[in-house]
């Protein structure tokens, strides 16, 4: 122990931030040990409380996962990044499966121009598989815990579905340039993909999500199957069909947003 205490002038300069670094550190070291000098340092209780809260949040708060850090770096709000990062589908297993499916589809499509539709057919199904596994009691171990919260239901499903769709679309977009086709044709999967995802979300208001995904995926395969049997791929992937997919995607998205709004009105 020492009888030395921080002099008034020294304290004033310390509080004003005008002390040299070495002297400031010396004062701080003394303040840590001396309750009398600490009591002489004025402070705002509210400021101190807020500072402690921030400090505690840093020390005891959750450590974000890599995916969460990436999302937050990209500007996503902290709470939203956490919701998205926990999406069951966005696991390594699903990502590997999507990449593998795309790789196979690209390899098959490169065997000849007549096999290009394989990629165009597969690409819209991949986000559906992800959405099917993004929300529900069978795929989310903590589903029952969260099912009684205000965000459960359409709002959480939509958040996760958008994340899954964005990832699947980005991966398909990376694979598309490898196709032996002009850019316009290589992107012919995009609008069907959006329409299928929106259709799945719209149906999930009435059906369990996996059943809705199966129904939409089955319908898509029936459409392309009929087109393939008729030998008329342009009818399935041509400009008029694309306009139809765009209109369907738009209308269904509006419907999904209305469902979401109805759950929060």
């Amino acid at each position: 122990m020492t009888d030395w205490h921080v002099r008034d002038d020294l304290r004033e300069r310390y509080l004003a931030g005008t002390l040299p670094a070495a002297a400031a550190m010396s004062v701080e070291a003394h303040l840590e040990r001396c309750a009398a000098c600490r009591a002489a340092v004025p402070y705002e209780p509210e400021w101190l409380e807020a500072s402690w809260r921030r400090l505690e949040s840093r020390l005891a708060g959750p450590r974000p996962s890599l995916a969460e850090r990436v999302l937050r770096h990209g500007g996503m709000p902290e709470h939203l990044a956490r919701l998205v990062a926990v999406t069951p589908t966005l696991s390594r297993a699903w990502l590997v499966a999507v990449v593998a499916a795309l790789a196979v589809a690209v390899l098959v499509a490169r065997q000849g121009p007549e096999l290009l539709p394989v990629f165009l057919i597969v690409a819209p199904v991949l986000p559906l598989s992800g959405i099917a596994l993004a929300y529900g009691p069978r795929v989310d171990p903590a589903h029952e815990l969260m099912a009684a919260t205000p965000l459960a239901g359409p709002r959480l499903l939509l958040t996760r579905a958008v994340a899954v769709l964005a990832v699947a679309t980005a991966l398909a977009a990376l694979a598309a340039p490898l196709l032996p086709a002009p850019p316009g044709l290589s992107a012919a999967w995009l609008l069907p993909s959006l329409a299928a995802a929106a259709g799945c979300l719209a149906l999930s208001n009435r059906l369990p999500v996996p059943i809705a995904a199966l129904a939409v995926g089955g319908s898509w395969l029936a459409i392309v199957g009929a087109g393939g049997l008729a030998g008329s791929w342009p009818v399935v992937f041509g400009l008029p069909a694309q306009l139809g997919y765009a209109a369907t995607a738009l209308l269904l998205t509006l419907h999904v947003l209305r469902i979401r709004k109805a759950s929060t009105a």
Binding site: R53, A60, R63, A148, P150, L156, T264
Partner: protein, 284 residues
Amino acid sequence: MIEITGLTKTYGGKRALDRLDLTLGTGVTGLLGPNGAGKTTLLRCLATTLAPDAGSVTAFGLDPASPAQRTALRRRLGYLPQDPGFYPHFTAFDLVDYVAILKELTDRGQRHAEVRRVLAEVELTGQARTKVRRLSGGMRQRLALAQALLGEPELLILDEPTVGLDPEQRMAFRALVSRLGESRTVVLSTHQTEDVAALCERVVVLRAGRVAFDGTPGRLAGIADGQVWLSDEAPATSRRFWRTADGRYRTLGERPPGAEPVPPGVEDGYLLLLGEGGAEGVAA
């Protein structure tokens, strides 16, 4: 105030709830009943995680059949399910923080303060940074209770909350729940009649999806008045008896020869009530 009217739920031809009517107010209400009596189904309907086939539940004037009112009701309730699942790679803090986000606590500072508060309520502050997979069964149960307390809900629904808790933890749980019950509606289901006796002002016994008893724990115990006996020899005729820790025999029902009467407990009344297969219901 929670109003349950004509609530019916059927699973594959079996009626879990059969035109159930019940009104719940402030205080702690205990739900008792054998397995399959409909306790969990009732609590899930109350917690808005299960839609009934017929009838209605309204809480605070909100009808969960409407999506908007369901969301509004969820903002005012806390739910501890019977089988709460967890993300095992999350820490205790992570998990409660995640549920807090789902409860629309978006401000990080306020949310973390609330997470710390509920972890302290269930005495898990020291385990905040422990992964869920490393927590004991009792700690996981307390963690599930912590998330139900987020936001100080007006309606607290607890499905078998004392499973896995040791005696000391159960005591702490009772103190917490009885304090919460002073100003909110707490509904808990349990198989532990001593929990009901210790902290519930009201007990509802369900049998085959219907209310078999609705009254105070004292009234439930009263069903066994004059029908609980203690004897040195095992009764020859009764099947409802068990050997106590001091080696004597506790019998429910007819007096065995040489037996002395003892005051009944909630469990005695409950067992006798369920034993009376023909009784339609007892209201008090």
